[in-house]
C-alpha cells in the first residue's frame, strides 16, 4: 500500500483543525520564518530555551523541534532536558542537525542528541545526513558552512542507511526528498530550486514536519506529508516571485492558502520498499 494524496490532504486538514503547539529550540537566524511557517501550516509555534522552563513548555506541546543552526553548549543542554521530558511523555522530537560535518561541535552535538534521546525524525541535507550516517555508510558528501555541495549520493539511499543505523525516520531533502524508516521509503518530488536561494528553507521544512508529527504517529507519513505540502507551496510561491526576497514572502502566503484540492492535484510522492 502506498501513501496517497488523499492521506496527505487529510493530515494537513488535521493540523489545521487541531492547531497543535510546536515547541522549537532553534537558531536565531531563521527563527522568525520558522515561527511563521508553523503558523501558516496551521499549528502554533512557541520558542523557549531557558533550561528553567523547557520541561514545562514541552509538556504542553504536540512536538519538539531541535535545530542546531546556531548552537552553543548551554542551548544543547536545554535540548537534552526538553528532549528527555518529551520522551517521557511520548511527544515526538524532530532534529535538524544544521551544519553537521562543518565543525566537531555540530557533529558531536547532533550525535549526542541522537544517542541520548529517542528522536522521531531527523531531517537534513545530503551532506549533513551523510556525516551522521558515518564514513562506513559509504556515502560521499561535502559541506561548506551549512550548505551541502557537490554530493551526488541518492537521498533515499542516505536516508535508508541513516534510518537503519539510528532507528528513526530519516529525511534527506534536496531536489527530490527521500524519507525512510529503514523499511519503507517515500520519495517526494515537490519543491523548487528557489528554495536553495534563501536562508531558512531547510529549517522551515523541519518545522512543518514538527507540525505534522504532532498529529500523525506514522512518522514516515507525517514527514512525507510535510515535505510534499511545503514543497508544493514552494513551487507555487516561485511562480509568483521575481527573486529570493519576494519568494520568502510568497512562500508563507502559499502554504497558508494551500487547499485540499491543491494537494490532491499537486503532490508528487512515491512509496517503495527500501533496498535490502
Amino acid at each position: 500500500m502506498s501513501i496517497t494524496q488523499a492521506q496527505i490532504a487529510e493530515i494537513v486538514a488535521r493540523v489545521r483543525a487541531r492547531r497543535p503547539l510546536v515547541h522549537h529550540i532553534t537558531n536565531y537566524v531563521t527563527v522568525n520564518g520558522v515561527a511563521n511557517i508553523t503558523l501558516c501550516m496551521g499549528a502554533l509555534p512557541v520558542m523557549a530555551q531557558a533550561k528553567e522552563e523547557v520541561e514545562q513548555m514541552v509538556e504542553a506541546a504536540g512536538a519538539l523541534v531541535l535545530n542546531l543552526g546556531t548552537l552553543w553548549p548551554e542551548q544543547v543542554e536545554a535540548m537534552v532536558i526538553a528532549g528527555r521530558r518529551a520522551n517521557q511523555l511520548g511527544i515526538p522530537i524532530i532534529l535538524d542537525p544544521v551544519g553537521a560535518g562543518a565543525t566537531s561541535l555540530r557533529t558531536e552535538s547532533a550525535l549526542r542528541l541522537l544517542n541520548e534521546l529517542s528522536i522521531a525524525v531527523v531531517r537534513g541535507n545530503a551532506a549533513e545526513m551523510a556525516v551522521l550516517a558515518g564514513p562506513a555508510a559509504g556515502v560521499e558528501a561535502k559541506i561548506k558552512g551549512v550548505e551541502s555541495i557537490g554530493g551526488r549520493a541518492d537521498p533515499a539511499g542516505i536516508a535508508t542507511e541513516l534510518a537503519r543505523r539510528l532507528h528513526c525516520v530519516a529525511a534527506v531533502t534536496g531536489p527530490v526528498d527521500g524519507v525512510c524508516d529503514g523499511t519503507r521509503c517515500v520519495r517526494v518530488a515537490n519543491g523548487h530550486a528557489m528554495m536553495g536561494k534563501v536562508t531558512g528553507t531547510g529549517c522551515m521544512a523541519t518545522a512543518v514536519i514538527g507540525a505534522c508529527a504532532a498529529v500523525e504517529a506514522d512518522f514516515v507519513l507525517a514527514t512525507a506529508t510535510a515535505l510534499a505540502a511545503y514543497g508544493l507551496s514552494g513551487e507555487r510561491a516561485a511562480a509568483q516571485s521575481r527573486g529570493p526576497g519576494t519568494f520568502q514572502v510568497q512562500l508563507l502566503d502559499a502554504l497558508a492558502e494551500l487547499s485540499a484540492q491543491d494537494l490532491l492535484s499537486g503532490v508528487r510522492v512515491k512509496e517503495e520498499r527500501a533496498p535490502a
Copy 2:
C-alpha cells in the same frame, strides 16, 4: 472628556518630529519586526541587553521596552538593571509579558519586573493578562504556548482589574483592545484578524506603545494612540495582502505612510469610566 482622533493624530506627529530613541530588551523571534515597526512609527529603535551596557543605553532613550518572549535568567537581570536606571530618570517602561501563564519562569519573571520596577504600561493578550491579574481576579483565560485561546473575558474588564492591582496602565489586546489605568478606560476597535496569523504582531504593538510613551506622559492616551495607529495600519495592510507573508510586509508600509488624515477618519476609540 474623551480621547479624540485629533489628539491621536497629534501624538503620532510628535513621535515623527522628535524621533525618540526606544531601547528594547526583547526576544530574538520577532526582534527584526520590532525594530522596523519602531522605525515606521517614526522613532529610533536600539536593541541592547548586555548587563554591562544597558544602563548607559537607557540613559539616552525616551522609553524602555521589556519583552519576555524568549527570556533567560541573565536577560531578566539585564531588564532589572536597565529598568532601575529608567525609573531613576523617569523614563517610562513598557512590559510585554509574553507567555505569562505558560511556564512558571515566565509568570514569575513578569511579576518580578512588575514588583521591582515601576512599570508605566503592561500590554498582553487576554490570557497573559488574566494570569498576571491573579486567580482572585475571577477572569478566565487559557494560554497555549504564547497564544491566548478560548478566553471570553472582556478585555477592558481584565485591564481594569490589572491596572488597579498593579498601579499601572494595562492594555489587553484582541479583537477590541482595552486600555485602562484603573479609572479611565479606552476601547480601541481598530485592527484586523490577519494580525493573529503572523508572529510578532503583539510584540510590535508593544514597541509602538513605547514610541508613543516616549513623547506623551498620559500613558492611557499614549497607549490608545499606539494601538489605534497600529491597528489602523493593520486594517490597511490586510486590504493589500493575500496572506500572512504579504501582510507582514504591508504592515510596515502601512504604518510608515499613515497620515494625519487617515487617523482622523479611521481611528475608532471610545473612552469610558472604569466599572466601580
Copy 3:
C-alpha cells in the same frame, strides 16, 4: 589609475562564480537579512559563534564578518578567537562597530578588536567611525542609539583619518560613501534614502563587503565594489517599493538579479588621492 565599472562588474562575477563562504559573528536583530543578502550577492553565509567552534568554522571561510550590534562579553571573546585564527590563515576580517560611541562597552569592544586583530576593513556610519578615529581626529558626529545623527563631517575625510590611525581600509557609509586606505580614496555615490528607513541596511552593507573581500585582496577595490553593487540595488529596489516593508523585500531581489550590464551603466564611483 582609477577604479572602473568594468573592474567592479568583474569582482561581482567572481563572487558569484566562486561562492565563497562568509562566516558571520553578528547580532540577532538583522541576522536574517545579513544571511540573505550574502546569498543574494552570490556567496554562502554561515553564522556560528560558540567559542568551541568558531576557529574550525572560520578555517573554511573566505572572510570573517564581526558585527557588534547586540554584543555581549562572551560573544566578543568568540570574535577574538575566530579573528586570531583568521589572521593566522590570512582570511580577511571585516568589522562593523555598530553603536560605537553609544555605550562604553561598544566603543571599547570595537577598539579592542581593532587592536588585538588585524582588521582588513572597518565599516560604519559617520558617528561610529568618528568615535573610533578619536577626539583628536577633530571630526564631529553624534550618535543616538545606533543611528548617526546630525554629523556634517565629510565621509571621505573621516575614512582617511581612521585608515591612517588604524592601518586598515575604512568605509564610512552615508548619502555618499567614502572608502580609504590612507592613500587612495574612493567615493561611492550609489544608494537611496530608503536605506535609512529600514533596520539592518548597514549590517547588510558590511556583509556584502565580506563577500567581495573573500575574492579580492585589494580591499579598497573590494569595498568599493560591495558598496556600489549594494547601493545600486538599493536604488533599483526603491523604484519598486511603496515603503520600508516592500523595500526590504525588493532589496534582496534587486541584488540577486543585478547584472554586469546594470553595474556598467549604474555604478557611480570616483577615485582620488587622500588629502595629505
